[in-house]
Amino acid sequence: MIERVRSWLLERNPGVDDIGLDDDIIDTRLIDSLAFPELLLFLEHLTGREITLAPDTVVSFRTLRGIRDKILVAPSESVSHD
């Protein structure tokens, strides 16, 4: 599933060849505040559940590893689309 996220980001950054698991996608401007809602909606589509932004979870969006390990896994308090 993380590969789909990587592909999604690469499609939106044509000058970028690859994104490492620990590359900071916000500091490197692969995603900025204006495009972030689109990323969030894509992640919600992949996971089939609503993802709540909270101060302690925002940092997880900075890297593909954080997204893979903290966002794409189902937390206990997640809200399913079903």
Partner: protein, 294 residues
């Protein structure tokens, strides 16, 4: 009259008008027990499918359901936008550089808090929820307070102009429930003052940036605000609203509708007033929805 005198005169007038039209949001509305699903909750021409083939393909019941959830989404966006606005204006009230608008800021903060309350009341009473905020907190360019303040008030103004377009339309739409019309009208009755103040402030706050004679900075601001306008339009398209309306494959549907060529004209209309203002002030060079130059 100097620019500062002009701003002061405008703000004095706005303060007087706000004082004369002060009301309690907590007792202003008659909250009905129930709003039927089988009705228009949003003017049909403001829904995200307006002008697209889906406006004909979805049956009337589905369109009305969609209008309900897009109404909840619209008011949810208001709630989240007001939160940023309250934080940023509170941060600046009675601080150096904001002495002049601070009296009006008190009215502004009080009214916006009231708006947040009654939008939340509507969402919770009739939708059972507020759609969550999808926006990241915006990074503050902490080393450039002039730039930061300009961006804050430019973003606020863009958001308020979008909302006001919807409020004006729905405040007069006899097809809508009286409560829905009233909420939109009451919001507009306050918001026009905020927009007048916002235009004055944005013009005033851009002037020192213009005087820096930094073409690269102005181009960055042009690009950022143009993208902000486009991103604001995208927030109207919420997959959760389509899902709640019973439309299958909500995420794909959302992307397809949002990218429909028929929607460009609607987006241009929603933001016409603010883009004309920003272009007129030479803050942006063109609408994000204008056809690309050949």
């Amino acid at each position: 009259m100097t620019s500062t005198d002009s701003i002061a005169a405008t703000l004095d007038s706005l303060v007087q008008d706000a004082t004369e039209h002060h009301y309690s949001p907590y007792s202003r509305f008659q909250w009905v027990d129930h709003l039927p699903d089988e009705q228009w909750w949003m003017s049909p021409d403001l829904t995200t499918v307006a002008g697209t083939p889906w406006a004909e393909q979805l049956d009337p019941a589905a369109l009305m359901r969609l209008s309900k959830w897009e109404s909840i989404n619209f008011f949810s966006l208001n709630i989240h936008g007001i939160r940023e606005l309250l934080i940023e204006v509170t941060r600046r009230i009675h601080t150096p550089g904001f002495e002049l608008p601070s009296e009006f800021f008190h009215r502004f903060l009080g009214e916006e808090n009231g708006h947040m309350w009654f939008f939340a009341q509507f969402c919770r009473r009739y939708g059972g929820k507020i759609y969550p905020d999808k926006m990241l907190p915006v990074a503050d360019p902490g080393d450039d307070p002039e730039l930061a303040s300009f961006l804050v008030f430019a973003r606020i103004l863009i958001f308020e102009e979008l909302v006001d377009h919807f409020n004006i339309r729905m405040g007069r739409d006899e097809a809508l429930h009286p409560l829905i019309r009233e909420i939109n009208q009451v919001h507009h009755d306050d918001e026009w003052r905020h927009i007048v103040m916002g235009c004055k402030l944005v013009e005033h706050l851009y002037q020192p940036l213009r005087e820096r004679d930094d073409r690269e900075l102005r181009e960055r601001l042009d690009q950022y605000l143009t993208r902000y306008i486009a991103a604001s339009a995208q927030l109207l398209y919420n997959p959760a609203a389509y899902r709640d309306a019973g439309i299958p494959d909500a995420y794909e549907f959302r992307n397809t509708v949002m990218e429909s060529p028929q929607r460009r004209g609607h987006h241009e209309l929603f933001f016409r007033r603010i883009t004309r203002f920003l272009v007129g002030q030479q803050i942006i060079s063109r609408s994000p929805f204008a056809a690309a130059p050949a």
